[in-house]
Assembly symmetry: C2
Homo-oligomer: 112 residues x 2
């Protein structure tokens, strides 16, 4: 999908002929803020991915892919990261998985 996450939502919404207000209601969001999200002026909150999947009957895994890919792309674009970053990221994921299976679950800062 060659689009920002905001553009992606807009396309979905339009193709389902929903107004901002209608979709915003389903997402438990203010329509003004949904407008900003679609226009890339605010972030979509991860916790609403489920609701978005429900609203348009989408596969949640695919939606997550779109969502996180969008976040990474934005950050790399913004900080002018080298393309290698993604390759290194993949290595690091494998590393995290390996120490996880060896030593039990890793705790993140934002976990209890």
């Amino acid at each position: 999908m060659k689009a920002t996450f905001g553009e992606y939502i807009r396309k979905l919404r339009k193709s389902h002929r929903l107004t901002l207000t209608q979709l915003a209601f389903q997402l438990d969001l203010d329509s003004a803020n949904l407008s900003k999200i679609e226009n890339g002026k605010r972030e979509f909150d991860e916790k609403r991915l489920e609701k978005l999947a429900t609203a348009f009957n989408l596969d949640i895994e695919q939606l997550k892919t779109e969502y996180f890919a969008d976040q990474f792309a934005k950050k790399m674009y913004q900080y002018n990261c080298s393309p290698e970053t993604l390759i290194v990221a993949e290595e690091k994921i494998n590393y995290l998985k390996s120490i996880n299976t060896k030593q039990g679950k890793i705790k993140f800062e934002n976990e209890k």
Copy 2:
């Protein structure tokens, strides 16, 4: 580099025979907080990458690669993202670049 960013800093610090206090001073950080960073209990702040590069005479670009790759990996691990996410991210970066060259610089939420 197969290591978290915290482990990476620790290796650098050890190999240069610096104490937490010594490196923390160079990074304008409390040694207790540097300890937490090395142990993955706090995030390293992007704005200190330059100082870190200076402290160990590292290429800032390579350091950025390590840093952002670490962030992406953590997130993907944490949210159980499909490996495809990185591929989609690459597409999206190209998309961002293309609309940038076409239409001028994109503004991000955190820019003025």
